[in-house]
């Protein structure tokens, strides 16, 4: 399994539809390769996936774009549970809930308990911490990080770093890490050899996709300066409810789809809110975007959004 992206395929990702259930990552030769899950091909990736990424479950959302958000999360979970080889690790890249309410977190927790894809790791999205201090989020998920929200761990020789870029926003600003977290990150990475594959996960994109919609992280460049010496860096984000991918040197940036509802493509419409699609379309969009391993590179399915 010596599969790599080839640049043209990577670029093709940017044109892909949002939708889909989750993203799988397999480790091949130190390079992490995302494999989008399609409902028709849950088990076509060979080998045991390294981990699963789900994002933006938005439990509590109940508007037209998807009146049954718990339902689509359940479908996602069933899809993963039906896989022949399941990963030992799942990362949720935030916006677990829609309004940071205790009942929403409880529902999310209950649903995610059915996910048979190993240990669950999370970072908060801005929807999870609207109470300011993030009391509800940290009460449930703060343990891994001593209530800081950011933390790191190792799994199968890969170093994972979870970061928080959704708290203490500045007016007119983008997401941000802040000086304390950046200092922690610098020290955490300093102890690793450059050959260690690194996975960084945070809710908001760590590169600026659309400044006017807040789709970026203001001090991401500082974090990236610590990461550039590593041979393989995979940066996983959510927030924008669609797949956008970029490659810069050894760093691959990838945003995941939501399990709840799509958002418009950058700059289309009034703002980054829920996108209502025609009846029947949502399900179709959730299930048809796939990337499969074929020979020596990843092949994308030909289904795209318009």
């Amino acid at each position: 399994m010596a599969d790599d992206f080839i640049p043209s395929r990577r670029r093709a990702l940017q044109c892909m539809a949002f939708g889909g259930a989750g993203t799988l990552f397999t480790l091949s030769g130190g390079i992490l390769t995302p494999v989008a899950l399609a409902q028709d091909a849950p088990a076509k990736a060979s080998g045991i996936p390294l981990f699963l990424q789900i994002s933006d479950t938005h439990i509590g959302f109940n508007k037209d774009a998807n009146p049954d958000v718990p339902g689509t999360l359940k479908q996602t979970i069933a899809l993963v549970n039906a896989m022949k080889a399941r990963p030992a690790l799942t990362i949720h890249t935030g916006d677990i809930t829609h309004l940071s309410k205790a009942a929403e977190f409880d529902t999310a927790n209950q649903l995610l308990m059915d996910l048979k894809a190993g240990e669950l790791h999370t970072v908060p999205g801005e929807h999870d911490v609207t109470d300011g201090m993030g009391t509800e989020y940290f009460g449930r998920f703060g343990k891994a990080s001593d209530n800081r929200g950011y933390y790191s761990f190792d799994h199968q020789s890969v170093h994972f770093v979870g970061l928080v870029n959704v708290m203490n926003f500045k007016p007119n600003g983008l997401g941000g890490f802040g000086a304390d977290q950046l200092a922690w990150l610098k020290a955490d990475l300093a102890a690793r050899s450059s050959s260690t594959p690194i996975v960084v996960f945070a809710h908001m994109p760590m590169w600026t996709i659309l400044e006017s919609w807040g789709w970026g992280t203001g001090d991401a460049e500082e974090a990236l300066s610590y990461l550039r010496r590593f041979g393989s860096v995979t940066i996983l984000n959510g927030h924008i409810h669609q797949i956008v991918q970029k490659v810069e040197g050894n760093i691959t940036f990838h945003t995941a789809r939501s399990t709840a509802y799509p958002q418009p493509q950058a700059g289309q419409g009034d703002g980054p809110g829920p996108l209502v699609v025609p009846a029947g379309q949502l399900q179709h969009m959730l299930g048809v975007t796939s990337i499969r391993l074929q020979k020596h590179h990843l092949a994308l399915s030909d289904t795209t959004l318009a």
Binding site: A65, S100, G271, G273
Partner: protein, 108 residues
């Protein structure tokens, strides 16, 4: 940047103040299309300012100086805060920090 002159740029707020001097004063800010409308409001001390979210996306009203903070406001949810002390109060939406506004409170 926001001189007292701005107070007269918002005659509606001032008229409300004059018209209902005996009742509790109030002012409403509509949140729509990812904007606070109006963005800058001037009110007399003691005014209840209410924000109403008309977007399908939730928003919050969060003071930059920790003077007030709403919960996440879903569509049609409202948040009211009474401004008693004259001063300039800047706020943002903590979900969409591009959304900012200012309440200027003048002495009654």
């Amino acid at each position: 940047m926001h001189s007292l002159k701005h107070a007269f740029a918002y005659p509606v707020a001032m008229l409300l103040f004059i018209a209902s001097a005996s009742a509790a004063d109030s002012s409403t800010i509509i949140i729509k299309k990812f904007m606070f409308n109006p963005m800058d409001v001037t009110v007399a001390a003691g005014t209840d300012v209410t924000w109403e979210n008309q977007d399908g996306e939730p928003h919050t009203v969060v003071s930059l100086t920790n003077d007030f903070r709403s919960q996440a406001l879903d569509e049609k949810d409202k948040f009211t805060h009474r401004f008693d002390k004259p001063g300039k109060y800047k706020y943002l939406c903590s979900i969409h920090p591009k959304m900012v506004g200012t309440i200027t409170v003048v002495a009654k």
